[in-house]
Each structure stands twice: as C-alpha cells, then as structure tokens.
C-alpha cells in the first residue's frame, strides 16, 4: 500500500497526493516542470518532497510506476525486464539507502553491476533527485559501460566524440570538408553523424554513401549515421545505402513515441532489420537521442516530471542494446531548461541515469541563442562530465552548428579534455590517428587541425607531396 506522503522537515507539514507528485516536486528546479504546472511551489515544498522520496522503498516505486502498466507500453518494457531475484534483494531499500550505496567509496563497479538488473527507471530517477552534483559525478565515475560497433566505445580511460558535419543545405562538399576538419582534430570515433536538412530516403542514402566512402577511403575505424527518421533510414538501407548505425529519437511515454511516429513494434522490427542489414561489424548498432522536456513539448508528458520521463527513455533504449545514447540538453529552449545552471544539472543527471540503466551514454552539451547560457556553461559541463566518465560528446566546428542553428562543443575541445584528464580516444581510433600522424601519445601533432591532409589521395599521398614542393 502507498505510505503516507508527508514531511515536516521544514517545520510545517507538507503532504502530497501521489508518488508521481512527489517525484515531480522533488526535482531540482526546471522551467519545464513549471510550465507543466507540476513543479514544487516553493523551495520548502521541494525539500519536503525530497524528504518524502528519500524514505520511500524501492518496492513502492516499483509498484507505482508513473504511468500504469496497462496504459503504457514503455512502462511494460521497463517492468518486464526487471530481474526478480535481484529485485527481491533490494526492494526494501529506501531511496536514501540507494543513494548512500552509490556514493559509498566501498561500493565498486561490480557492486553496481550486481544491483542494476533489479532497478526500474522510476527508482533511478528517484535517487537522482536526492543526489547533489558531486554525488552524480562520483557515482557515474564508478561505472564503465562499453559498447562495440566498428570500434569500442566507453572503455576505462577513453573519451570519444561524435563528429557532426551538418550543413544548412546538405551540401556534400561542405559536409566532406567538415569531416576532414573534425578528423584532423582527432574527433569522430563515436560516430560521423549527419542531421540532414530534409527527411527523405534519397537524401539519407546519398549522405550515408558519402560518409561511408570517406570512411572506407581512409580506412577509419568508426561508424556512419544519418539522423533522419528510423523508417526513412530503413527505406534508404533497403535501397542499398550503407548504414553502420540506425538512429531514432525516443520519448519516455507511449504517447510521446507516437508523436515521433514510432512504437515498440516498429523499434523491434527495426532492430531485427539492423541485425541483418547494418554494415557495422559489432553487435551494437542502435543510436538513440533523448532530452528532458521532449514529452512536454509534444503534450504527452502525462503530468510526469521531465527527469523521470528521461530515465524511462533509457529503460526503453536498453531493450535494443544501443551503441550510443545521446541526451541533447539545452537545445529545446528556456521553457524546459531555463539557463546554464539547469542545463548543467540536467546533463549530470542524464549521463548518470543512463549509465546506471546500463547503456553507453553521452551528451550533446549545447545551447540555443534564446537560452541564458553560453559557451562557458557547456565547456564547464564537458569538464564535469569528463570527470564523471561520459562515453562521448557531440562536437561541431568551432562550436557552431550552422544547420541546427545552435552551439555545442568545438572540435577543439576534444584534445583539451584528453589533455586535462589524461584520457584517450577509442583505442582503434587512436591507433588510426597515430598512423595518420595526427596524434601521438594522446596529444595532437603539428599536422593536426589541417583539414587539407585529407584532400590528397590516400595511396599516393606521398607522391603528391614530392611533386608539389
């Protein structure tokens, strides 16, 4: 039965109607929860909700999913996959117990791996609401989640980057130049992934071919992806397009996914299709994007807060054993994440929740021009999340994506972060960078930063040099 949802921690008695309400009001301040009308009305109410939440048992959270089992297929996916044996061991823990387990220095990676199968997305979201920023960073740093496609992402001591060579007119030449530029800075091991201007299968096929040809010409141990709708990519692949990864945006509710034009059946079919037809060699070939606030923006949030919904996206993503999952924080607008502070908090929450769910998690640390944030905020977030052990970041030339009209991390940030934290690119990719003479021992060489090194032909590159001089 549902326990009494009351707290007197701030002096007066605050009470709550439902677990869903407690979860929403226990959130750190987010403009999206306010816009949805479900946020705490005061700082006092917020901490009272955290207090109530801290004392709930994991069993209570399991038994009270934010959307009922029979109403929502995302809930069913999350509930059905729980390992009952593991769950029984931890179901009496309070959320506070879970927090203290995660931050305890005696708790190591194996301990977390052991309890993971007993967790639901609601439990993961709940503990996040009790954790401070350092709590989140420290707990994330304990977890290593690797995945394998044409290379291996997420191994200890590595930090990867998506090379995002978008162009406002899908101009193939400009896309290729941006790829050359990014590779010359050592980024691109997570994926070379393009957001196309237009969502049609012809264009998707063309861009998949361009990226694949480039990858093959230079023998790059990475994977390509064009981020059109999943059905568009499948159509392109059916027509012969070479795709290493299949991409889709996910939501944390069935209705939210419906607004993206997908459901579990479609995702299941796509996964089977990808097993058969993706050009990648590894077992992990799905790429998902998520972001706090997307369900509210499509009016499918069911009065659930955006952190809990985000955790549910990861629960869904896990079903498909993805190569990478990317949380796009800061793109959606100030009505969901108001400023740099909220963006940084959301980034830390999401990467933590993703890793605790057991998926290869990375982030697009970004901002639009109408949000109260700037490049310093996302550079800070990148530093914090490198400390936490994010698998990868998105990177664009000089931080400026001229197609999506927003700013993210710069190609330059990769080498700076490797330097500061003494981490390296994915191992296969690092060897390739060394072969190309772009990086040596984890540092850029004098050749780095010059896109024209990729303009010669691979085989006779040396011959050309000698005749040009």
């Amino acid at each position: 039965m549902t326990p009494k949802l009351e707290s007197t921690i701030t002096g007066s008695c605050q009470s709550f109607e439902s677990i869903r309400e407690v979860l929403a009001k226990a959130n750190e301040e987010k403009s999206g929860d306010e816009l949805a009308g479900i946020a705490a009305d005061s700082a006092a109410e917020r901490v009272a909700a955290k207090d109530v939440l801290s004392q709930l048992s994991l069993a209570t959270l399991r038994e009270n999913p934010v959307i009922p089992y029979e109403d929502d297929e995302v809930t069913r996916v999350i509930q059905d996959v729980v390992d009952e044996t593991v769950y029984k061991e931890i179901c009496d823990w309070t959320v506070a117990d879970l927090r203290e387990f995660l931050v305890d220095e005696r708790t190591n990676e194996e301990d977390i791996d052991r309890i993971r199968p007993g967790l639901t997305s609601e439990m993961i979201a709940a503990v996040t609401k009790l954790m401070s920023n350092i709590d989140l960073i420290q707990a994330t740093a304990k977890m290593t989640i690797t995945a394998r496609c044409n290379n291996t992402i997420g191994t200890e001591g590595t930090l990867s980057f998506r090379l995002q060579p978008n162009d406002p007119t899908d101009d193939v030449d400009n896309i290729r130049y941006s790829i050359c530029e990014g590779l010359s800075y050592g980024v691109g091991d997570a994926v070379i992934g393009i957001n196309p201007v237009e969502d049609n299968h012809e264009q998707t096929k063309r861009l998949l071919e361009v990226t694949k040809e480039f990858i093959e010409e230079w023998n790059i141990p990475t994977q390509n992806c064009v981020l059109s709708h999943l059905t568009t990519q499948i159509e392109a692949v059916r027509n012969g397009a070479p795709a290493d990864l299949l991409f889709q945006s996910l939501a944390g509710t069935e209705a939210g996914n419906e607004s993206f034009g997908i459901d579990i059946d479609l995702l299941d079919d796509a996964y089977e299709f990808g097993k058969e037809h993706c050009t990648a060699s590894g077992p992990n070939f799905m790429y998902f994007e998520t972001g706090q606030g997307s369900e509210l923006s499509s009016d499918s949030h069911a009065d659930v807060d955006q952190v809990t919904l985000e955790a549910r996206c990861y629960g869904l993503a896990k079903r498909y054993d993805p190569f990478i999952v990317n949380t796009v924080v800061g793109f959606i607008g100030p009505e969901y994440l108001y400023d740099g502070k909220q963006v940084i908090r959301a980034g830390l929450e999401d990467v933590f929740m993703g890793q605790l769910t057991g998926i290869s998690m990375g982030i697009d640390a970004c901002y639009t021009n109408h949000i109260q944030a700037d490049q310093n905020d996302i550079e800070s977030l990148a530093v914090l999340l490198t400390a936490a052990g994010s698998n990868y970041f998105i990177s664009v030339p000089m931080g400026d994506d001229t197609m999506l009209n927003y700013q993210s991390n710069s190609y330059h940030d990769a080498a700076a972060l490797w330097d500061i934290f003494d981490v390296r690119p994915a191992p296969e990719f690092e060897s390739w960078l060394e072969d190309m003479g772009i990086a040596r021992d984890g540092h850029l060489t004098s050749k780095a930063g010059d896109p024209t090194v990729f303009l010669g032909e691979h085989e006779d590159g040396r011959k050309q040099e000698s005749t040009n001089s």
Binding site: D167, N174, S178, N369, H370, P397, Q407, S410, D450, G456
Partner: protein, 242 residues
Amino acid sequence: MTDIDPHTDPEDETALDRIASASPSRLGLGRSGTRPRTASVLSFRADHAQARDAVLTHVSEETIENAGLLKVTSLVSDQDEYLARPDRGRQISEETAEQIRDACTHAPDVQIIVCDGLSSTAVEANIADLLPMLTDGFEERGFTVGTLLFVEFGRVDIMDAIGEELEADIVVNLIGERPGLNTAKSLSAYLVYGPERGKPTATKSVISNIHPDGLPAIEAGAQIVDLVATIHDQQGSGIELT
C-alpha cells in the same frame, strides 16, 4: 605558444582558403595548442553577442511609429516570462481584446501583425521594406487590409486570438526568428486562413529566412502577397492547401 599554425602552414594553403570560404561553417580556422585562435573565439563571441542582443532588446518606439503600427501586448509582462512561458505569449487579455475591437478595422480580408518574437533585430531590419510591399500588393489585388498591429511579447499563435477577435479572413504574422550565429536579422511570416484560438500549427503556412542575406524583404513581400491570394482562393492554409 604552439609549434604549428595550420593557418599559415597547411599542407595545401589554397585548398584551406577555399574550404574556409566555401563552407558556411567555421572551418579551417586553425588552433593555438588545443584551443581555437583568439581571433576565432572573439568573432564567435561577437556573433553570439548580436544574437543575445536580438533576443533581449526591444523593438524601438520609433520603428513602431514610423511603420504606423498600433502597439498591443500579450499576457506576458517581461522578457523572462516571455522565454519561460510560451503559453502566455499566445494569448491576449480581455482588455487588449476590447482595445483592438474598438480601435481596429473590423473583418478585413487580411490582418497584418508584427511580433518581436525572439528577435527584435529581425523586426527592425525588415519591416520598413516588407510592410509597404504587402500593402501595395494587397491593394493591387483588391484585398482590404486591417489596422496594422505590433504585438509585444507575441508568439506565433497569438495571430489566432487577434484574428478571431477581429474576424479577419486571413492573418499574416511577421515574427522575429530565434537568432542563429550567422544572422540575428531573420524574420518569418506565418499565414492562417479563418483564424480561431487553438487552430493547429499545421494549418499555418510559413515563409521563413527573410533577411538581407537570405530572402530579401521586398521579394518576401511579393511572395507573401502571392501566397495570400492562393490562400484566399482555396479558403485554407498550411496543410489545407493543395
């Protein structure tokens, strides 16, 4: 200091220049150690500063007056609320509704409204050329044009509330787009037939990217006039058009 300056020592200097000039992205700018060069950082910051200013500053009274616009406001009272509460930027108060019902032409063929949206700079940069192209064009085609309105803190869908109050056939909403780093001057025109509150976004037609380096304001004006004529003939807009 860095041991390499790719901007002066690339493998192929002419190709680097061509790449830098061909692409709208910030390519071929080189580095200082792991970081961008100082000039590249400052030029990035300058573009961001212009974009921020476009969001945060207001359309001047002078611009509104020179264009002969009647100023009204949405339910939003300041910039912070505008950014955090898009729902309030789509609505008008009962007082505003009464004000426009009293002051404006009733049931025009076309009602034009100008909204600051997310860029006051876009409004400042375009409407002096765009509005007369519209009024001339509508006159030539024999459409009646309502009282020109400026809506402070307006979102796209405020056109529904205003159009419904004034019983306009068609509303044209000229609104500042979210600025990018390439330009803060970009304006969009949304058009709707038979405006009423809650009319879905998909039933609105849009012409975007109106700015001096995109679709020039005068050309956009002529294009909007054509589109209004089509909307008028087909009695529908957005997805209702064939």
